[in-house]
Amino acid sequence: MTGRIQGFRAKGVRKPFWALLRMQFKVQFNAAKVAESLGLDDNKRRQVYLYLGLMALAFVPFTVMVFKYANMLSQVLVQANQPGLAVILAVMAGQLVVVFFGLSHLMSSLYYSSDLEQLQSLPLTPRQIMYGKVGVIYAGQLAIMLFVAGPFLITLGIHLSSALYWPLALVIFLLIPAVPLGIGLLLVVPLMILTAGTRRRDMFRVLFGLLFVAVIFAFQYLNTNMIRYGPDTLMARLMEKDGLVSVAAGYYPVLKWAAWALTGTDFVRRASGLALYSGISLGLLNLVIGLTQGWFLGGVTTDTGASAKKPVSEVRAIFARQRGTIGALLLREHRIIARTPNFLLTVLLNLLILPILMVSMYFTGGEELAPFLEMILGAQAKDVVVLAMVGFHGVVTGLNQVASTAVSREGPMFWMSKMIPVSPKVQMRAKLIYSLLFAFVQLVILAGVGIWFFKLGALRFVVLMALGILVSVPVSIICLLNDLHRPKLNWTEPQQAMKGNFQTMVAWLLSMLYLAAVAFVVRGFYLLGLSAGWLYGISATLLAISSYGLLTWLDHASESVYVKL
């Protein structure tokens, strides 16, 4: 009778915690999950290995480049008697990446998790659940660290040629994710408690996302401003062995302790560095897990709170409004985004992050860019800037994920789009209009920042807006076409439709190819010495013709593809 069921343990029992960890690893890292992340259907799972192989190949040049850079830097720092700085760079880069990716994984595994209730009903302690969840995220972050901190630590070890270095470096490496994940947990779990059972859950999610961006910028600001000393002090520190270590780790001593552990001048310093770094890292993470697991007992998962009743007059007013077909479809598009926190947060970040980055660049030395461009490009510099910004807007439109997930966002509700008495062509055009409206808002922000940055003047602002609108059309259509042909409709969590949708990357790359082709032609005319007016005219013509062609393609594709979805 035995052996008829694959995957059943034949003897003994696993400890509940190890069973949980094993199961969570399977759920997160098995082929089906990877296939889902890549936007492949379950029946195309065999392609996963091909995809992964190709991606690994694509990573080879990047990895070689990082190793070369790390090797060069480590060599220079060892020669300059500042090897600790390489450790600081490795740990800092690693922890910054964990702040970014790790927090997002914590949100997925805890906040957006769909299995917490099930786990809570099993005979598992909240502490086991928390350690299981964090353990899987931790392992994922360590895999990323191999490409971020790994090259710096490995090349430094080679240049230091000390046998003791390697086991210590392994400890430093293994503990890199601990502090940022501990801080991340302190943000995510209170948010879960704050929003459990409240009617404002969605708003809290969005606010938290924006707060997260603010934290990233604060972290980045601290990183770029941590050197508070003048050139004389810096030169004096440069003369001492690892004199720059305390300068670079002024705000955040964990970095300094890691450097002491690996490159300290004597045993005491090395031992104290290792003890402090390991103690604080492990202590903080364990303390936070211990603290937050207790909060689970309060019930952090429930969504069963009763919803507020709308007054009858308000309900009557909703029904009294009558819209045309396009208006109704646009409103539906908008509501799907605005009422799904994950979608709203993604588009808000896409909308704001580039202008914020540009402004922060401006205040950190970017104000010299405009005069520099005028110096090398001469009188046409501002026109080149206008065209470059149009191209940049095209890139940003391709990246904003509004068009590239327009069909996918409907997800399991797509059946409704197939049965409403509105042609697929009209439905896709409504999605295009919505994408263009969003791209327009993005353009206004981008152009405003650009005008301030480069002092372009009113006429060029008008040209920038006109060409910006024009470039949004073909880019949005390319993204829509890609999503129409490969939509991700079988999602169970909204973030699988947007953030976890690999096809958004494919759509962006396709739109980049299109933009590169247009830029290539316009640049050719620029090199021929045509005036700015001609260059604007040619750009507009190319964009308009390709828009028309692509729109015709979209109309045909809508009618033929929709029915097959």
Binding site: R4, G12, T304
Partner: protein, 254 residues
């Protein structure tokens, strides 16, 4: 076997989902938990199985306090949620193996316990497929099988008939009866009043968080028999105030 004493739970905004609920389910009893949508059934069940903590009151399962010893109390339970949220990326077998691990079912007896259940619910052919490929009914069946592998004395099911085909629904009812005949207890919520009427030893009706009636079906019928013989459905509609006047029904069609 199940004892809820003065159990209350509120959500944000002061909405009291469950209000001072007292309930006692004895061994050998199938208890049907009835109530309109949003009455507090699922909240009660979530507190009973340890997902939610009550604001007030205490819960005991098989004599073990859920607040003081949650792990031991949960080991006394087999629970099937209303929408079986299982791990799509695991196969059915991997899911059952995980459940066996956390409930401490020895490897030597897992297959012997699982096979008859898998065969009964016609799931053996699908047990090595990912759960993501299962229909709603198949998910429900694998969750049901998972809830029985550790042979719990108390079986808690939230809307268990939803998604099941008639054969599986019949088998489930037989299993529930067999479970209580062996000295266990079954606590389940349902909207199918005919099932409750035929299957349950006792039923409780919850409305707006308060338990408004608890009795055997026959005693409840006697109690409401003043205006002639009534079905459980009619009693339910009467006590929850859900019966619409004739003129209001007519206006819905206009």
């Amino acid at each position: 076997m199940i004892k809820l004493s003065k159990v209350s739970k509120s959500y944000g905004g002061g909405v009291k989902a469950v209000d001072s609920l007292d309930l006692h389910v004895v061994p050998g009893e199938i208890f049907g938990f009835l109530g309109p949508n949003g009455a507090g059934k699922t909240t009660t069940i979530k507190m009973l199985v340890g997902i939610l903590q009550p604001d007030e009151g205490s819960i005991e399962v098989n004599g073990i306090s859920m607040a003081d010893n949650p792990i031991e109390a949960k080991k006394q339970l087999g629970y099937v949620p209303d929408e079986a949220q299982l791990w799509d990326k695991l196969t059915g077998a991997e899911y059952l193996d995980f459940i066996c691990d956390v409930y401490g079912v020895p490897g030597e007896s897992r297959e012997a316990r699982a096979l008859p259940l898998l065969e009964t619910f016609e799931m053996l052919h699908a047990v090595n497929n990912p759960i993501g490929s299962y229909s709603r009914g198949m998910r429900q069946k694998i969750a049901l099988i998972g809830s029985l592998l550790h042979r719990p004395p108390v079986w808690v099911l939230d809307e268990p008939m939803v998604g099941l085909d008639p054969r599986s629904s019949y088998l489930l009812k037989e299993l529930m009866r067999s479970h209580v005949e062996q000295g266990g207890a079954v606590f389940f919520s349902t909207h199918v009043l005919e099932v409750a009427e035929r299957l349950c030893d006792r039923v409780g009706i919850i409305h707006k968080g308060k338990l408004i009636a608890v009795n055997t079906v026959s005693e409840m019928k006697e109690l409401f028999a003043k205006e002639g013989d009534k079905s459980l459905e009619e009693i339910f509609l009467e006590v929850t105030g859900a019966k619409l006047p004739q003129e209001q029904l007519a206006s819905l069609e206009k």
